[in-house]
Subunit: 350 residues, 2 copies
DNA sequence: TTCTTTTCCGTGCACGGTAACGGAAAAAAT
DNA sequence: ATTTTTTCCGTTACCGTGCACGGAAAAGAA
C-alpha cells in the first residue's frame, strides 16, 4: 500500500534517462517534449505512482495566489460575522499554502455597491472567488464574467442554479424549514402557529428564508392540515414598534402558543417574550448569533437551528485552495452542511 | 499588519552581520553561540517578527515522526468505526506535514491485550500518542511511561484526571445526560421513565455512560422529583432475549412511555419498538451509528445525541502535529465537542 | 610566549521542484 | 549540401532551512 520511499523527480529522470527539466515539463503539460519522452515519463509515473512534494513545489514557485471573498457588510452580532470568523480562521491555513485570502464587502441593500464590489474583486486578479449571492441578476452577470476569465468560484449560504460553480456549501434550506416545523410542534397538534417576518423581504434577492418558509408550510400542511399559520411583520429598524406589534397580535389571538422565525433575528422578539413568561410560548429560530444563544439560555427561545457559517466559509476556501494548490477537484459539488439543533443545554458547546 | 515580504534567515544573517548558520543555531537553541550574537539575533527576530518557512524546514529535515493511535477493536457499525474514519481522514493531512499516523488496536474486554498494545505502541517510538482510555489503571501506568519518555499524548472520548495530558477532545458526558433527559421529557411531566442498560458495564473501566446517567438523573430529580426511573438490563450477546426482556418489563409497567439509553446501542431495542407503534414511545439514544440513524428515520427513535467521534480524532491528531511540527501548544486543554441533536429530519446531513 | 583546548561561527551541500537559458539535434527551406 | 528554423532537452541557479564540517578566534595551560 505504502511506497517505502517517496519517488522524486530525480528518480524519474534517472529511470527514463532524461533530465529533471524534461520530467518537469511533462508533469506540467508544458510544450517542448517529444511524444516518445512524454510517454516514457508517463509510464514510469503511473507505474511508480509519483506524487509531487508540494512543499518543495511551493517553495520553488513562490507564487502568490489570491482567493477573493465577496461578503455583505454587517453590524457586530449579525449573521455574517460568523461567516467572517470562519474566513479569518482559514486564512491562516490557506496562507500556509501560499494562498492569500482577500475580503471585499458590499451593502446587501444596495445593488450599486454590489456592482462596485464585483469590479473591485476582478481588479485584484483573484485565482478563485467565494461568494454569497444576494442579488440574483447581478450575481449571474458576475459569475459569467468569472467563467470567461476561467476563475473558479464557490457559493456559500445560498446558491444560484447556474451550472458553472465549482462547489456550494450551505444548509439545505427547504429541509431546514421542515425541520423547524417538526421541532416547533414536536408532533403535538397546534391549531395555530405564528410566523414572524421582517418587512423588507423583497426585490430580486436570493433569500434562504423563502425556501425555509416553504418547507415549514409543507410540514404543517402534511401533519396538521387544520392548523392556521399567521404572518406577523416587524420592522427591525424600529425596535420600539416591535413589542407593540406583537402585543397587538397576541392579544387578538390569545391561543397561539407556537412562534417561528426564518431569518437569524429571533432575538428581536425576546423583549416581548420576556414580558409573557406565563404563556410558555414554544419558539424556534435560526442561527447561533450571540444574542440568540442568550435568548436560548434565558429560556425565552426553545430551540435554534444553526448552520455553521464558519465551517461553510472554511470549507469553501479549502475547496479552492485544494484546487489551486493541489489541483484536486472537490469531491461533491453541492455540500449540505448539518443543521444543528441547539437547546439551552447544548448551546454553549457550539 | 502584514509584512510585505516574509523575512528569511538570510535576511537576519545580513542584518546582524552573522551567517545563516549562526542564526539557525539561535533559532533552535543549539549551543555554540556567544551571548552577544544570541541577543543580536533575538533582537532582530522580535522586531521584524520572523516566522520560519515550515515547508522549507520540512523539506530540509526530511524527518519522519509517528503519531500513534491506540483504539479498541470494533465490529463494523460500532461506535469506534466512526472514530477510525476520522483518523483515516486526518492521516492524509498529517502525512502532508511529514507525520505518519499508526494505529494499534486492542480488545476492550481483555486487559492483557491492552497491555500488549501498549508495549507494541512504545516499540514504534512514537513522537505522540492519541488514546481512548478504557482500562483505568493500565492507562495510568501507560501514560506515566509516556511522561518519563517525554512523549506527549491526547485523550479522546474519555479522559482520566491525570494532569499530564496535552489535550482532551470529547463530549461533556455529564451534560450530555442532562440534555438527554431534557429532550426525552421535552419539559412535559413524565411519571416514569425507563433506562435500558447493558449488563456488563462493570470492572475498573473508564466509561462515559456513568456520567451520562448521573446527568440524566439529576435533570429528572431537579425537574420532575415525582418521576420514577426504572433500569432494564439487556444482554447484547443474546439478541433473542432482548425482546422478551423488554416485553416483560413494559407489560408490567404499561404507563411508561419514555425510554433512554446511554451507550451507543439504541438500535438493539428497535426490534421491540417496531412491534409497538401504538405506544408512541419517546426514545432518546446516543451516537450516529448507521443502525441508529436508520431507527431514527424509521420513526422508532425520537432523537439521537451524537458526538462527532471523527472530529474528535481529527482534532486530537491535529493538536499533536501542531505541537510536533510547528511547536504550537493547543489553545485549550479540555475541548468539549458539540453535542449534536439528531432527529429524523436532519440526520442525513451529519 | 607558545601550545593546546574550547568556544564560536562561516561555508557549503542537501532537500525536491521550478523555470529560464542556451545549445544540440532534427526538420524544413533554400 | 548548406543554411535556417523548429523542436527538443540538459544545465543551472535558485526557493528557505537544516546541519555537518572545519577553521578562526579566544581562553586556558605550559
Amino acid at each position: 500500500m505504502e511506497n517505502k520511499q517517496k519517488i522524486t523527480i530525480k528518480d524519474i529522470a534517472r529511470m527514463t534517462g532524461l533530465s529533471k527539466g524534461t520530467v518537469d515539463r511533462v508533469l506540467h503539460n508544458r510544450e517542448g517534449v517529444s511524444r516518445k519522452s512524454y510517454s516514457k515519463v508517463m509510464k514510469v509515473i503511473e507505474e511508480l505512482g509519483y506524487e509531487p512534494n508540494i512543499y518543495a513545489s511551493l517553495l520553488a514557485q513562490k507564487k502568490e495566489r489570491i482567493v477573493l471573498v465577496l461578503l455583505p457588510k454587517y453590524e457586530p452580532g449579525e449573521f455574517w460575522e460568523l461567516t467572517e470568523e470562519g474566513i479569518t480562521e482559514s486564512s491562516e491555513s490557506a496562507g500556509n499554502l501560499g494562498v492569500k485570502v482577500e475580503k471585499v464587502d458590499y451593502d446587501q441593500y444596495d445593488i450599486e455597491s454590489f456592482r462596485n464590489a464585483c469590479k473591485k474583486a476582478l481588479s485584484l486578479k483573484p485565482s478563485g472567488v467565494v461568494l454569497a449571492p444576494m442579488f440574483r441578476n447581478e450575481t449571474l452577470v458576475f459569475v459569467d464574467k468569472l467563467n470567461t476569465l476561467g476563475i473558479p468560484f464557490v457559493y456559500i449560504d445560498t446558491k444560484l442554479e447556474s451550472n458553472s460553480y465549482l462547489a456550494y456549501f450551505g444548509m439545505p434550506t427547504y429541509q431546514s424549514g421542515y425541520l423547524c416545523a417538526h421541532i416547533l410542534t414536536d408532533e403535538q397538534d397546534p391549531k395555530e402557529v405564528a410566523i414572524v417576518r421582517i418587512q423588507r423581504d423583497k426585490f430580486g434577492k436570493s433569500d434562504p428564508t423563502i425556501n425555509r418558509r416553504e418547507g415549514f408550510m409543507d410540514y404543517i400542511a402534511e401533519h396538521f392540515p387544520a392548523c392556521t399559520p399567521y404572518n406577523i411583520f416587524i420592522n427591525p429598524n424600529k425596535p420600539e414598534e416591535i413589542d407593540s406589534t406583537l402585543e397587538q397580535f397576541f392579544s387578538e389571538h390569545p391561543d397561539v402558543r407556537h412562534i417561528a422565525m426564518f431569518n437569524s433575528r429571533i432575538y428581536l422578539i425576546t423583549s416581548f417574550l420576556g414580558k409573557h413568561p406565563e404563556k410558555k410560548y414554544r419558539v424556534v429560530g435560526f442561527d447561533n448569533l450571540a444574542a440568540n444563544i442568550k435568548a436560548l439560555k434565558d429560556g425565552l427561545v426553545t430551540c435554534l437551528i444553526a448552520q455553521r457559517p464558519g465551517d461553510q466559509a472554511h470549507r469553501a476556501i479549502s475547496a479552492l485552495t485544494d484546487l489551486l494548490v493541489f489541483g484536486r477537484e472537490p469531491s461533491g459539488r453541492d455540500n449540505f452542511m448539518p443543521m444543528d439543533v441547539l437547546t439551552r443545554y447544548n448551546a454553549e458547546y457550539y
